[in-house]
């Protein structure tokens, strides 16, 4: 367990926001521009389609030396040789993931201090906390958690916390001040017409990607 990570921006996929461009092209462009960590998160895809997508993302992330995380599915992660798994609160625990493959890095989405503590205890490598700000994709889950809650989580955790949810470059600075190691996001890179510009903005804001 460590208090640092070798990336500060965690790119989370949503192939719908890429349209009409194929997701692997968008991820390749982002990695070419310097993105260091990508989470494949396409929850509606069955195992076969997800595996095929993961294989493509493994190829492009490896080409640019970026890490690939697979949401929830350890079997897909193992099958394509991903670097890690991203667990939801309801997913199998980090301990179970690492028992299957100790070299897998595990990120865990948390929505409370209690689940953050549990994730750390179970051996997670980093936390993803949110939504910190309002975001359309998470609005149905209730009000944003806010910077104060982020500060509580990041302050209590002995592992890095990434902030997610409605985070713009300007707000990312506030998140860092609140103790976040970095940020995660979908739309600023997935849905933009200029991936190089969007990635450069993050690089500028976070010092390093």
């Amino acid at each position: 367990m460590s208090n640092s990570l070798d990336f500060r921006y965690y790119l989370i996929t949503d192939r719908r926001q890429c349209r009409p461009r194929p997701l692997p092209d968008v991820v390749a462009a982002a990695c070419r521009q310097g993105i260091k960590a990508v989470q494949l998160r396409e929850k509606d895809l069955g195992g076969r389609a997800l595996f095929a997508m993961a294989e493509q993302l493994r190829e492009v992330t490896a080409r640019w030396n970026a890490k690939l995380f697979i949401n929830d599915r350890v079997d897909v992660a193992l099958g394509v040789g991903a670097d890690g798994v991203h667990c939801r609160e309801t997913s199998m625990s980090s301990r179970d993931v690492k028992q299957l493959e100790p070299s897998l890095s595990v990120g865990v989405s948390v929505h409370s201090l209690q689940s953050a503590r549990r994730a750390e205890r179970e051996g997670a490598d980093f936390l993803l906390f949110g939504p910190v700000f309002y975001t359309a994709s998470k609005a149905k889950y209730g009000a944003p958690q806010g910077l104060a809650a982020l500060k509580d989580i990041a302050g209590a955790a002995g592992i890095p916390t990434l902030a997610v949810g409605g985070i713009t470059p300007k707000r990312a600075v506030e998140c860092r001040t609140a103790g976040a190691w970095g940020v995660g996001g979908i739309s600023s890179v997935m849905a933009t017409d200029s991936i190089p510009h969007a990635v450069d903005q993050w690089k500028l804001t976070l010092d390093s990607l």
């Binding site: 069955g46 195992g47 076969r48 389609a49 595996f51 929830d72 599915r73 350890v74 079997d75 897909v76 193992l78 099958g79 667990c87 939801r88 609160e89 309801t90 997913s91 199998m92 625990s93 179970d96 028992q99 299957l100």
Partner: protein, 214 residues
Amino acid sequence: MEIDFGFIMSNRLSGVYLITDTSRQQRFSHRELAEQAQRAGVPVVQYRNKETGGRRALADIRGIADSLAGTGTSLIVNDRADYVLAGKADGVHLGQDDLPIKTARSLLGEARIIGGSSSTVEEARLVEQQGADYVALGHIFESQTKKKDYPPRGLEMLREVCSALSIPVVAIGGITLDNAPEVIGAGADMIAVSSAICMARDPYQKARAFMGLF
């Protein structure tokens, strides 16, 4: 001396294949249903749960695996090879949209059971070619458990698949005590049953009745 374990596998893959269901009934847990089936001599139980996450699923699977350990009843997990590994189950069942069979085989190794779903003779052949240990064909009849957007496959296709394949064939979909003899007569090695046992007043007795057909 070379020992052929093939007979053990085919022996094991004969009889009732119970898919435990806790969405249409809540009197019994997955584990309780599996235990009743095991006592009735059912050789294969499948855990299928699309509603909960891995934490809950693994707790269920570990509980069932614990109950079935050493009994000769195998535990198959639907869709997720990772749950099989982490929960020490005996195998995985893969639908046409699930992980490729070859990927599951490379993750699980030769000792574990891998089954694949099919709904045509062609799909069944492919499942066999890709290295599955059994193929499921369905739905044979209209099923209450799973609504399908294509018509029942019927006994004729079941016969065709059973004669075309050399791995065991599991017939699935709408199988009851009344129609099971025809299904077995058509060549099915196993009959997959969910509602007919899980919804029965006494699942153990019902499982025994089904097993008595073999």
